[in-house]
Amino acid sequence: MRRGLWLYIGGRLLQSLLVLWVVVTILFLLFRLAPGNPLTAYIDTTFGEEQQTALMARFGLDRPLHEQYLIYLGNLLRGDLGDSFRYGGTVVDQIMEVLPNTLYLTLTSLVAAYLVGVIGGIFMAARRGTRTEKVGIIFTLMTRAAPEFWIGMILLAVFAFKLRWFPSSGTAAAGTIYSSEIEKLLSPDFWQHMILPTFTLALYLHGLPLLLMRSNMLEVMDQDFITMGRLAGYSERRLMIRHAARNALLPVMTALTLGVGYSIGGNVVIENVFAWPGLGRLLVRAVTTSDYPLAQGAFFIIAVIIVILNFFADVVYGLLDPRVGSSDQAKAS
């Protein structure tokens, strides 16, 4: 059993690496097939022919495609994502500068969303069949059906522009420079800037854990050990919170792991509405300005985070599900 589990994890790890390699290759091809001169963004219109050629050589764009691919793979292995066309500096530096912002936003809103979602899910399960539940579910579905950026727009119009309770964009008031990430996280100003985007994201994200928790609860509540508990005279409340919720929580946690990855990729829109200097905004700007190395790098980092978290979700799933490792019925996450 234990050996089976290790085999399962090892297999999953290999698979993740394979997936990553294919994603990286797709990424490479995607960006090589991009239209236009890849240096458009970089080359000023006053450049002469020989300067263009020199630049093509500098970025390795004059070599045959397969050579470019091998160089690209080699560079990736060494953690080198190349240089940005527009900014001159390395892509890694650019990404590292904005990555923390994306993580703060994503993690804070996920934590908030899952807290509310889990509690809301238990509540809904307790109120099964009532009007409250019906209205609650419809409301939750509404939050999942409304475009995030639209909710963001309305919140901006009301709370930032009309009432002026919150700042409308960025991570800090003008002129504030945090000397470190710690200082940034300790600054009340930063959290003020976080509130609207976090709320918008959390509102969208809370639906999945809520619905999941509710349905898991309903399923667990039907199981024998709960029925036994009922017969033994335990209160419904105690049963729900102590026993049912604990069991229903596990799949929700798997979903959370996956959620981190998906949210980082999906933050793109929110970051643009609130001008949040994160990975998603970096990606959109890089794409619109044809800064291909930067766009490719941002895309790559998002993909890596997703693949790693998918792997963790698999591992968690494997650890929790006794069937894994003992049979080949293990289901992919």
Binding site: V22, P35, R128, L141, P147, W150, S263, G265, V284, F299
Partner: protein, 312 residues
């Protein structure tokens, strides 16, 4: 980001009730569908909403007083930023276009994207799921690794990059979505096929000498068809939302007025600080309603398929 309202795992764990397809394919199909809308009022509401928007889309030229991009002029002056009035029920944009007409025509883009992506997603996902589940072995391995890869590609960034590199065109957005979104459908259908293929009526068919393809498409497929419908109806909403996001970020088709385009236009024309809620609210509400319609219908199918959840 998962498009489904319920969880894949729990759905798979609680195996739906499969019946041997004794009736003809069509009548069974009709019965399931009828059951969905009879049992579930929300699903029925979803169906009504969708039908409403389909009608609006078809009758758009009749309903809309103007062409969506036509500028309303008066003595050479464009009637821009007009508040709602009888001639333009939702006011005009900052360049003098009728917001109501845009809203009406926007339903075409939304439904076009929604339905074509939904069909593509459920067809690809169903076929992948059937083949992987039925044949197992290397077919299964390859198809499921492809699904892993599709799961490893960040969804929205991929759509954006593809939309930016190909001509900004509504079909490219649909293609990009179809390339990734089949993954959920494919996996869930595969796991159901694994259950069904062990059932007696399938073995019986095999014994009686039915070919593999016949078994897949005549015996197994009808049983999982409602599941494809479930994922298809979720994909409607998912793709409409995605198209709106892509348009909002400015990577949409510049010649198609969609609801996402309207919001982008409003956002970039300072409708927010003007407090022009008559411009911002309607497109968002329309998106929300269509997407919810998809969710409602999806839930309807879910509850018929996974009856345990029904008991509440």
């Amino acid at each position: 980001m998962l498009p489904q309202t319920q969880n894949v795992e729990s759905a798979a764990a609680s195996a739906p009730i499969f019946e041997r397809p004794t009736d003809s394919f069509l009548s069974q199909f009709a019965r399931t569908n009828l059951e969905v809308f009879q049992r579930d009022r929300l699903a029925l509401a979803g169906l009504i909403i969708l039908t409403f928007f389909v009608l609006v889309a078809i009758l758009a030229p009749v309903i809309a007083p103007y062409d969506p991009l036509q500028v309303i002029e008066e003595d050479g002056i464009w009637l821009s930023n007009e508040k709602p009035a009888p001639e333009y029920p939702l006011g005009t944009t900052n360049l003098g276009r009728d917001i109501f007409s845009q809203l009406v025509f926007g339903s075409r883009a939304a439904l076009l994207v929604g339905f074509s992506a939904a069909i593509a997603v459920s067809v690809i996902g169903t076929v992948v799921g059937l083949l992987a589940g039925y044949y197992g072995g290397w077919v299964d391995t390859i198809l499921m690794r492809l699904a892993d890869i599709a799961f490893g590609i960040p969804f929205l960034p991929f759509i954006i990059v593809l939309a930016a590199f190909m001509e900004p065109n509504i079909w490219n957005v649909v293609i990009a979505m179809s390339l990734l979104l089949w993954r959920d459908t494919g996996r869930v259908i595969r796991s159901q096929v694994l259950v069904i293929k062990e059932q007696a009526f399938v073995s019986a068919a095999r014994v009686s000498g039915a070919s593999n393809l016949r078994i897949i498409f005549m015996y197994i497929a009808p049983s999982i068809l409602p599941l494809s419908f479930l994922y298809g109806s979720l994909a409607i909403g998912w793709s409409i939302l995605t198209e709106a996001s892509v348009s909002f970020l400015g990577f949409g088709d510049p010649n198609v007025v969609s609801w996402g385009f309207m919001l982008q236009d409003a956002f970039n024309s300072q409708a927010l600080s003007r407090g022009a809620f008559y411009w911002i609210i309607p497109p968002g509400v329309c998106i929300m309603l269509t997407v919810m319609a998809g969710f409602f219908i999806g839930r309807g199918y879910e509850e018929v398929l996974f009856p345990r959840l029904r008991r509440m």
